[in-house]
């Protein structure tokens, strides 16, 4: 049942970006090359512009989720059903509207981050 883990960021600096939907954290290049493991429908690997649209460098804290299904933290953060990988605790932006529409089309849930 354990799904294959997502790519692990190859660096820890400013190149990191987080997927705006699932909060998966990878480097820009990784997103560009292989997209987002949870949100493949964004097809970032095909359209590199999408990487900019669907990911953000503004996020706060990271969490490496080894075992999403049995991790309380993952459940709490509502990333318990994504593949194992490195995620962020919070992103500060919402998906652009067209991307949200895309989510709707794909019938995947999207929750914009709560504003303070």
């Amino acid at each position: 049942m354990a799904s294959a883990p997502a790519q692990i960021p190859t660096s820890f600096g400013h190149e990191l970006r987080a997927c705006l939907r699932c909060r998966l954290v990878k480097t820009y290049d990784q997103f560009r090359e292989s997209g987002c493991e949870n949100c493949s429908f964004f097809k970032m690997e095909e359209d590199h512009e999408r990487v900019v649209d669907c990911t953000t460098p503004n996020f706060n804290g990271i969490i490496s989720v080894m075992d999403p299904t049995r991790s309380w933290a993952a459940r709490w953060l509502r990333i318990g059903r994504f593949v194992p990988g490195v995620y962020t605790l919070a992103v500060s932006e919402a998906l652009p509207e067209e991307m949200q529409a895309l989510c709707e089309d794909e019938r995947v849930q999207y929750n914009p981050p709560k504003r303070l």
Partner: protein, 1040 residues
């Protein structure tokens, strides 16, 4: 955990079952724990079992596997039998538990709406009181021995389904349902290398991927704001240890368990909403520029850096020395003030200024590593080091930020700030607005309707559609001069005033409170007819209070803003106003201190003093506060800083002596109280008789005297909340009085009209008060000379003080023989005469007026003086001053300025004279020029020795101040030694040869070619210059 109650019901069945199981489980577990030693053999079997199923086994199994490994590590070996038994029962139990568990999960997934179900499972555990010992127990699915295949299938199914109907809608309540329970893995805090938190988390992830399920940790959290630590989620501390083994960034063995209650806190991070766009205002969070306003020029989201534009705080001198390799002594606390960089200035200091272009090709001046443009510093900093939320630049800051000459540009920028700070519902129907952007720019109109972003306005100009929809961002409130408005936000919040000028979106108001100009943004005000006083206090601190600030500086609050004060700092001679936050104010200073003025007179609060040197020279007013030799004077004619002037006590002279007489007897500063009180009474009738028009400026200072009439008296409050209370007036300010209530230890401010003073105040006092402000300050003013007498040295002070009192009495005394000299005096001083408003020059009335009663006449004289007191030409008063005392010198010339006989004791001296002397001490005038008249050789003096009065010529001035005087108008008589107090210089008349006794021309001789009031027009012999000098410092030169 409110859900518990509900759970109870819902899970009754399950619980019962579970509880049973748990008991068994618990026993087992305990047994296992007890038996930890020597389980190795059994262990192998177990793992063997697991290995078999490994392919289908999910994480649970693997975990169990690992778990066993761990056990092995700890246990060492042996003891298989027990284990076997355990396995049996355990498996039977865990089957059950797994079932239950999955049921639960199913329920959870079935309906997020039925959230209560989820997590309810923790209940039984807590209820059966095992929560503590179970600390080390593994929660659900720990040892799943069920048909794994089936389970795996089921799980697969479940997750397949979930993927699609995954409902992440996270309401608060649902999130509650996810709160951690004892069954959940725990969070452990692990120390790691600083700055390597993320790296460590990622490394652990990598390790997990490499090692597979061997790593029994569930997740690793690295928080941005927590340095030096990461959190590891695992069931057992041992798992954490195992996972961290071999990681170079984790050292130290300290692993701390995060209490369940705090687990959620770990994961609650603010999603920082950074909308950093160009031109937004931000504040620096750290470093030299901490708190400074900056404007974003460029944002690099990838590198998380922003370039901001700041007003540089650069000490060019220090920079120059640094660049030259000289050692710079670092003053720690010193932060250079913000100042635009002047390239020329830098070059003058031999600082190398290079021209560089940035990536956009913009030209910059580079000094060292710093980039400047137009005087601004362009600095690239980490996004984290600036704060961009709720930045409300004050008007002043924006003003400073705008380079002189730069106009339109700056405005647009500040507009964008305005918009950023606008709240919802900013515009209301009926608001007058103006379009500030776009094609319709400058179109005025009124708000008709407000939509989300668009405002429908009714344009002013005809021929346009009835309403136009305009974006909110293109509108600005519009006011016209004359509108009365209220400030509703910003630093001046609460103030009201009238618009006197409109500069685009900036209004200039005249505040109702301070009558000062206030600049506000049009956006921050609403039209209002309300007149408020604004806020005058925050906490314990009130407007006009003296407060102690950090680093031991102090000052007077001159303006209260919404969360800060403007404080005029106690720095003499230089008005330094600082904006101080409420919390930066240490305490209020309200000690009653008295200090000495320039002439060692005691100055206490409420005394009227005059500033005699420094930039504020000439200002005068009552002392509001005294601290460390600094006086804060309130001069109502001083338009800045709420009328406050800060001066050194040393630069002031007391004008009226202690005024606080009436109020607190026995108080340090009212030592003349008892003496003075009677004196007031004779004074008043004279004032009545005169009833002259208010006398200019000086009257203000004197107003205090009038107040004194009321201060100290007992009054009754007739109206308002304190109606019926009796109290003592302790202060009178304008139309309000401060009354110390008798029944309460409390001082309240009451409107003057709301008190009835018939309790103790006599009607005449009342009227006195009315005129109080006009009352002159004579007695104190009159004479000035003592200073000219060399006699005033150390010993002088006590004498004066002593003298002052009796003389004062006399001065006011109506019986003083007056009239005859009066005439004299008038003749002698036509100028000063005319100067006093009561006496119109040439009006014949004046004389009779004066003449009738000696008292009146007496009083009037000071009136004249007083008059002049208000004018800068104070010293002129001096000339007149002696006049009242003229009777005292029978043979003397009426006008001799030096007529003072100093010692009251001198038999020959008139009672008045000493008085004069005493008063002189306070006279501001003389104080002003300490170079004032000094006796010098060759001048003609009147000598009053006991038993003889004669004219003489000073031949020599002795070191002790006394003079050798040759008697006779030409100095051919016998030579005697006279004390300064026994002499007065003969006042010259027109065309007399004179000698100048003071001022810059001291010692020069000349000819008095005219007399203008109290001024003498002198042709100086040496230079043939014509000078206008005080008669005071002129003495008739003896004919050689």
């Amino acid at each position: 955990m409110s859900r518990r109650g509900i759970d109870d019901d819902e899970f009754d069945d399950e619980e019962e079952e579970e509880e049973e199981e748990h008991v068994a489980d618990f026993d087992e577990e305990e047994a296992e724990e007890e038996e930890e030693v020597g389980r190795g053999g059994r262990k192998r079997r177990r793992s063997g079992f697991f290995d078999e199923d490994a392919e289908e086994v999910d994480d649970d199994e693997e975990e169990e596997d690992d778990d066993d490994d761990d056990d092995e590590d700890f246990d060492g070996g042996g003891g298989g039998r027990k284990r076997q038994r355990k396995k049996h029962s355990a498996s039977s139990f865990f089957d059950e538990e797994a079932k239950v568990d999955s049921d639960e999960e199913e329920e959870e997934e079935e309906g997020e709406d039925d959230f209560i179900v989820d997590g309810g499972a923790d209940l039984p555990e807590e209820r059966d009181g095992r929560s503590v010992p179970r600390g080390r127990m593994l929660p659900h699915g720990e040892e799943d021995h069920e048909d794994l295949e089936a389970m795996a299938r089921r799980i697969q199914q479940r997750y397949a389904r979930r993927q699609s109907d995954y409902d992440e809608e996270a309401t608060d309540v649902e999130q509650q349902a996810l709160l951690p329970s004892v069954r959940d893995p725990k969070l452990w805090m692990v120390k790691c290398a600083i700055g390597r938190e993320r790296e460590t988390a990622v490394c652990l992830m990598q390790k997990y991927i490499d090692k597979g399920s061997e790593l029994q940790i569930r997740s690793v959290v690295a928080l941005d704001h927590l340095k030096n630590y990461i959190y590891v989620e695992a069931d057992k501390e041992a798992h954490v240890r195992e996972a961290c083994k071999g990681l170079r960034n984790i050292f130290g063995q300290k692993i701390t368990l995060v209490p369940i209650r705090e687990m959620t806190d770990v994961l609650s991070v603010e999603s920082k909403a950074i909308d950093l766009a160009r031109d937004t205002w931000v504040r620096m969070k750290i470093g030299t520029y901490k708190g400074d306003l900056a404007k974003v020029v460029d944002v690099d989201n990838v590198r998380q850096r922003v370039t901001v534009k700041l007003i540089p705080r650069i000490d060019l001198q220090a920079l120059a020395s640094k660049l030259e390799g000289r050692e710079v002594v670092k003053k720690k606390a010193y932060v250079p003030p913000p100042r635009f960089l002047n390239v020329e200035e830098a070059r003058e200091l031999h600082i190398r200024v290079e021209h560089r272009r940035d990536t956009y090709g913009e030209r910059f001046d580079a000094i060292g590593g710093m980039m400047f443009k137009d005087g601004f510093l362009y600095k690239t900093v980490s996004i984290k080091s600036i704060s961009a939320q709720n930045i409300k630049p004050t008007f002043d800051e924006l003003e400073k930020f705008r380079k002189p000459g730069e106009n339109g540009d700056g405005d647009v920028a500040s507009l964008s700030t305005l918009f950023a700070n606008r709240k919802k519902g900013h515009f209301l129907k009926g608001d007058a607005v103006i379009v500030i952007k776009g094609d319709l720019k400058n179109l005025k109109g009124w708000v008709e309707k407000v939509d989300e972003d668009n405002i429908h306005i009714r344009p002013e100009i005809k021929g346009l559609p009835k309403t136009l929809a305009v974006n909110e961002k293109e509108l600005c409130k519009y006011f016209e001069p004359g509108n009365h408005v209220k400030v509703v936000s910003g630093g001046q919040e609460g103030a009201t005033g009238m618009v006197v000028k409109v500069e685009q979106h900036v209004l200039i108001l005249i505040s109702d409170t301070t009558k000062e100009h206030v600049r506000v943004f049009a956006d921050d005000v609403v039209e209002s007819s309300e007149v408020t006083t604004g806020i005058t206090s925050i906490g314990d601190y009130e407007l006009r209070d003296l407060v102690l600030l950090d680093n031991l500086s102090f000052g007077v609050i001159i303006c209260v803003e919404s969360e800060a004060f403007q404080v005029l700092k106690g720095v003499p001679d230089r008005a330094e106003v600082v904006l101080v936050k409420f919390r930066e104010v240490k305490s209020k200073l309200d000690k009653k201190i008295s200090v000495q003025d320039r002439f060692k007179n005691t100055v206490s609060a409420k005394d009227v003093v005059r500033v005699v040197e420094g930039p504020c020279k000439g200002k005068q007013g009552p002392v509001e506060h005294i601290y460390r030799g600094i006086l804060f004077i309130c001069d109502r004619h001083h338009l800045e800083h709420a009328g406050f002037i800060c001066v050194k006590a040393q630069s002031c002279v007391v004008v009226g002596g202690s005024r606080s007489n009436g109020d607190i007897n026995g108080n340090a500063y009212s030592r003349f109280a008892s003496l003075r009180t009677p004196s007031r009474i004779p004074q008043s009738p004279s004032r009545f008789s005169r009833g002259g028009p208010p006398i200019h400026s000086g009257g203000r200072g004197r107003g205090g005297r009038g107040h004194d009439g009321l201060t100290g008296s007992t009054v009754k409050v007739r109206q308002g909340p304190y109606k019926g209370y009796r109290g003592r007036v302790i202060d009178v300010k304008g139309t309000s009085v401060r009354v110390e209530l008798e029944s309460q230890m409390k001082v309240v401010t009451v409107d003057r009209n709301h008190i009835s003073d018939n309790v103790a105040v006599t009607p005449y006092r009342e009227s006195r008060y009315g005129m109080g402000s006009e009352t002159p300050m004579h007695p104190s003013r009159t004479p000035l000379h003592p200073y000219m007498t060399p006699m005033r040295d150390p010993g002088a002070t006590p004498i004066h003080d002593g003298m002052r009192t009796p003389m004062r009495d006399r001065a006011w005394n109506p019986y003083t023989p007056m009239s005859p000299p009066r005439d004299n005096w008038e003749d002698g001083n036509p100028g000063s005469w005319g100067a006093s408003p009561q006496y119109q020059p040439g009006s014949p009335v004046s004389r009779p007026y004066e003449a009738p009663t000696p008292g009146a006449g007496w009083a009037s004289t000071p009136g004249g003086n007083y008059n002049e007191a208000g004018t800068p030409r104070d010293s002129s008063a001096f000339a007149n001053a002696p006049s009242p005392y003229l009777p005292s010198t029978p043979g003397g010339q009426p006008l001799t300025p030096n007529s003072v006989s100093y010692l009251p004791g001198t038999p020959g001296g008139q009672p008045m004279t000493p008085g004069t002397g005493g008063l002189d001490m306070m006279s501001p005038v003389l104080g002003g020029n300490s170079e004032g008249p000094w006796f010098m050789p060759d001048i003609l003096v009147n000598v009053h020795k006991p038993g003889e009065e004669s004219v003489g010529v000073i031949r020599e001035v002795l070191t002790d101040g006394s003079c050798r005087v040759a008697l006779g108008s030409s100095g051919n008589g016998e030579t005697i030694t006279a004390l300064p107090s026994e002499m007065e210089a003969v006042v010259p008349r027109k065309s007399d040869k004179i000698k100048i006794m003071g001022g810059s021309l001291c010692g020069a001789t000349g000819k008095l070619i005219g007399v203008d009031g109290t001024d003498g027009i002198v042709k100086v012999d040496d230079t043939l210059d014509v000078k206008i000098l005080d008669l005071v410092i002129l003495a008739k030169l003896a004919q050689a």
